[in-house]
Symmetry: C4
Subunit: 277 residues, 4 copies
Amino acid sequence: MDREKIGFYVDIVMIILAIFTVFLLFYEMTIAPADVTPADISAGNIPEEVRAVLPKIVLIHKLDLWICIVFIVEFLVRIVKEPDRKAFFKAYWLEIPGMIPFTLPFLNISKTFRVFRLFRLVRLFSMMKRLSRLYQKRFVRNELQYTALIVIMILLFSAYGIFFFERQVNPDINSAGDALWWSIVTVTTVGYGDKVPITPLGKVLGVILMVTGIGVIGVLSGTIASRLLRGYRTEREAGDVQEALRILKLRRAKGEVTEEQYHEIKKDLEEMQGETG
Amino acid sequence: MDREKIGFYVDIVMIILAIFTVFLLFYEMTIAPADVTPADISAGNIPEEVRAVLPKIVLIHKLDLWICIVFIVEFLVRIVKEPDRKAFFKAYWLEIPGMIPFTLPFLNISKTFRVFRLFRLVRLFSMMKRLSRLYQKRFVRNELQYTALIVIMILLFSAYGIFFFERQVNPDINSAGDALWWSIVTVTTVGYGDKVPITPLGKVLGVILMVTGIGVIGVLSGTIASRLLRGYRTEREAGDVQEALRILKLRRAKGEVTEEQYHEIKKDLEEMQGETG
Amino acid sequence: MDREKIGFYVDIVMIILAIFTVFLLFYEMTIAPADVTPADISAGNIPEEVRAVLPKIVLIHKLDLWICIVFIVEFLVRIVKEPDRKAFFKAYWLEIPGMIPFTLPFLNISKTFRVFRLFRLVRLFSMMKRLSRLYQKRFVRNELQYTALIVIMILLFSAYGIFFFERQVNPDINSAGDALWWSIVTVTTVGYGDKVPITPLGKVLGVILMVTGIGVIGVLSGTIASRLLRGYRTEREAGDVQEALRILKLRRAKGEVTEEQYHEIKKDLEEMQGETG
Amino acid sequence: MDREKIGFYVDIVMIILAIFTVFLLFYEMTIAPADVTPADISAGNIPEEVRAVLPKIVLIHKLDLWICIVFIVEFLVRIVKEPDRKAFFKAYWLEIPGMIPFTLPFLNISKTFRVFRLFRLVRLFSMMKRLSRLYQKRFVRNELQYTALIVIMILLFSAYGIFFFERQVNPDINSAGDALWWSIVTVTTVGYGDKVPITPLGKVLGVILMVTGIGVIGVLSGTIASRLLRGYRTEREAGDVQEALRILKLRRAKGEVTEEQYHEIKKDLEEMQGETG
C-alpha cells in the first residue's frame, strides 16, 4: 500500500472519530442531567440524578480519553512530517483545545472549563476542510455544499452551547433536539419564541449565532432558491439566446457587423444554447 | 377533433383532477379527527370521533380510488406513446407515489405510509410544469408567476404535512387554515409563535420549510416589491435616457463621437425611451 | 389667478381632505366599539356601548358625506376636462370605491360592505402620485421617499384592516396604535407574537401584508442602510478615484493610453472626485 | 511635544470620557429604579427605592457634571480653532445636547427632558468618526468595522432608550442586559417575543430601531457571511483564473488575439492569481 492511500484511510478514520466524538458530546449531555467528574466519583460525590447512568458515563469518558489520545498522536505525527510548521500551526491551532479529554482521571475539571468541548466541533470542521483540500474537492464540490457545511457547523456549535448552558435551568430546552430546533428557528430569524435562552451565557451564544449565522443561512437559502427556480430561468435564458440571434441577423442585414464577426458571434450563441437547452 | 386538441383537453381534465385530489386530501383530514382504513371499517374498529362522518369518508375513499385509476391509466398511456422513456421516467417518476389511493380495499395501510399522499402535491406541480411547457408557456408567463407557483406548492406541502403530523397532538393546529397560516408565518420568517410544531416530525417539516422556502419567498417578495416600485423607476429611467441624450449632444459638439455613431446611439436611446415612456 | 395655480391649490385642498378622511376613518373606529348605521339610529337600534359617543359619530358621518360629495364633484370635473378618458379611467378607477360615504342616510350598509372604506387609502396614494407627477416630482424627489410612501400606504391599509376585522374579537388589538404596531412588527418580519390576528379575514390581511410588504420594506431598509453607510463609502470611493489616477499615470508612462485619452480620462476622474469629495 | 501629538492624546482622553459617560448612563439606571433630581434631594422628596443608593447617584451626578464641563470646554476650543465654523457646526451640532449634565444643581429636570442623555451616544459616534478621519482611518480600517460600529451605536441607543422608557413598567425589561438582548433580537428580526415594548414611546423606539437597524445589520451579517465563505471563493476564483488562462492560450492558437494582447492579458491574469492564491 502506497503512502497516499494510507493518508487517505487515516483521514477517513480520523473524520469518523471526530464525528463520533461530537455524538458522544451530545449523548453524554442527553443522559446526564448534571455533570460529574472522576474526582467526584472517587470522592463518592455523585448527584442523585446521575447515579443511574453512572456506568454509561464512565464508559463514555474512557472512550473519549482513548479517542483524544489518538488525535494527539496523529497531530504530533502531522507536525513532525510538516515542512512549514508555522503555517501548519496557524491553520490548525484551533484543533488543540478540542483534544482535551472530557475528564482527566487525576484532575477535577470545573464546569466552565468544559466549554472547551465545543472545540471538538471546530476540529470536525478543520478536518473536513483538510479532506476537501487534499482530495481535489472530491468532498465539497460546490458552494452550496460548502455553505451547507458551515451552516451545519454553526448549528451544531450553538446547539451544543445552548444545551450546555441552559439544560438544567431552562424548562424549554431539555434535549439535543430542542437545542437544535432553537438554533434553526433563531438562525433563520423565524424566532417563534417557544424556546428562548434565559442565562446570560446562553444569550451571548444566541447573539453570536445571530451575527455569524444569519448571513450564511441567507446565502444558503438564496442558493437553494436559485436552484429551485433554475428550471424556469434556463428556459428563459434559452429564449434570450434566440432573441439575441434574431437581433444579430438583423444587424448583419444592416451591415452593423462584418461577416467574420457574425459567424464568430453566432458560434458563441449556439454554444451557449447547447449548455442551457 | 385533431390530436393536439385532445391532448389539450386531457391535460385540462387531469389538472382539475389533480387539484380536486389535493382538495380531498385536506377535506378528509378536516372532517376526520382520526385516520381510518377499510380494514378498520370491516373489522368494526372505528374510532368514536370518526363514526359520525364515516359515510363521507367512505365516499372520499371511493372517489379517490377512481381518480387514482384515471391517473395510472393516463400515466401508462403517456409511457407507451413516449419515444424517450428514460428521460420521461427521470422527469416524472415522482408522480408515481402520488398515484397510491388513500386506502386500498384489501390493504390496511398504516398511518406512516399515508404520508405518501403528500406526493399528490408533487404531481400537481409536475402537471403544471407539463402544461406550461407544452403550450408555449401560455400558463406560466413570467418569473413572478413561476415563483408564486413554487411558493404555493411549498406552502400546500408543508401545510398538509403539519396538519398530518400535529392535528391530534397540537392544540393550536386544528384546521387546514391553521396549518396554512403556520406555513406562511414561518416561510416569511415572521414567526409569531402562535402556532409552533411540537412533534419531532412536525419540526423536521418546519426545518425543510425554512430551508427551502425562505429563499424562494425572498425572490417572490423581491419581485413583487420591484413591481410596486416600478412606477417610480420607469420615470427615473426615462429621465436617465433624457440625461444620456443631453450628454451625447454635448459629446457630438466636442467631436468625441463621429456623426455615424451619434445617429446610431441616438436611435438606440429613442427606442429605449419608447419602451419605458 | 391663472389656471395652473388654481389646479395647484385644488390639489392641495384635495390631498388635505384625503388625509382628513383617513383620520376620520381611524377616529370613528377608535371611539365606537361597534358599527352603527343611520338606519340603525332611526330604528332606535343603537348598541349600548355606542350610545355615549353617538353625537360624535353622527357628526363624523355628516362630515364624511360632504367630503365624499367634494371628491365626486372633483372627479367628474377631471373626467370632463380629460382628453384621454380611457387612460384616465385605467389610472384612477380604484379611487371610485373610496368615494362611497361611511353611511348613506337612506341605506343600511352591512358591515362587510364597509370594508370599501379601505379604498380611501388607495385614493390617498393615487392623489400623491398625481401631485408628484404634475409638479415635476417636487413632492417625491427620490426613491427613498417613494418607497417610504408605499410602505406608509401598506401600513395604513393593513392597520385599518386589522383594526376593522379584529377590534371586537381580539383582546390584543384595541386601538389604532395597536393595529399599526402589529403591521410594523409583521412587515419587518420581527413577528414578536404579542399581537396576532385570530379572525380568518385578519389572517388573510396578514398574508397580503407579508407578501406585498416584506419586499418593499426590504428595499426601504436597504436604502436607509446605504445612506447610513454612505459616509464611509464616499471616502472609499474618493480613494478609488485616487487609485485609478495613479494607475492611469503609470499606463501613460508605459504608453498604454494615448495623450488624448489620458487627458480625457483624467478630466472624468477629477469630475468624479468633485462629486464625492 | 508637538501640536499633532497633543491633539492625538486629547482625542484619546475625550473618547475614553465619552465611553465612560455612556457607562455611567447605564449604571445609574441599573442601580436606581426611579429617577431623582438634586431638587428632589434638597426637598427631601426621595423615593423609597432610591434611598439606599442615593450616595452613589450623587457621586455619579458629580462625575457627570465634571465630564460635561470638560466636553463643553473642548468643544469651545475646537470652535475657536476651526477656520470653517459653519461646516463645523453642520457636522457636530448633534453633540451639543449630549453635553447637558444628568442633573443641574439649580434645575429640576423633568423625566422627559432626560431623554437628551441619549445624545451622549451620538457624541460617542461623532467622536469615533473624528478619530478615524484624523488619523488616516487607523481606527476603522474597513467597511466591516464601520458597519459594526454603526450597529453597536444603534443597539446602545435603542437599549438605553427602551431601558429608559420601560424599566419601571415592563416586567420583562429590568436590566441593561435585558434591554440589549431585546435590541439585538429585534434588529436581527428574530423577534422571539420574550421581551416586547408596552409603552407608546418604547414602541416608537422599536419602530425606529427596525427601520434604521434591519438594513444595517443585513449589511453586517452579509459581510460576515462573505468572510466565512471567502475560503471557498478564493479557491474557486483561483480556478477561474486558471480556466481563463487555458482559454486565452486556445484563443492565441486560433489567432483570435494578437501576440501583444496575449502577453498583456496573461500578465493581468498572473497578477490576479498572485492576489488570491
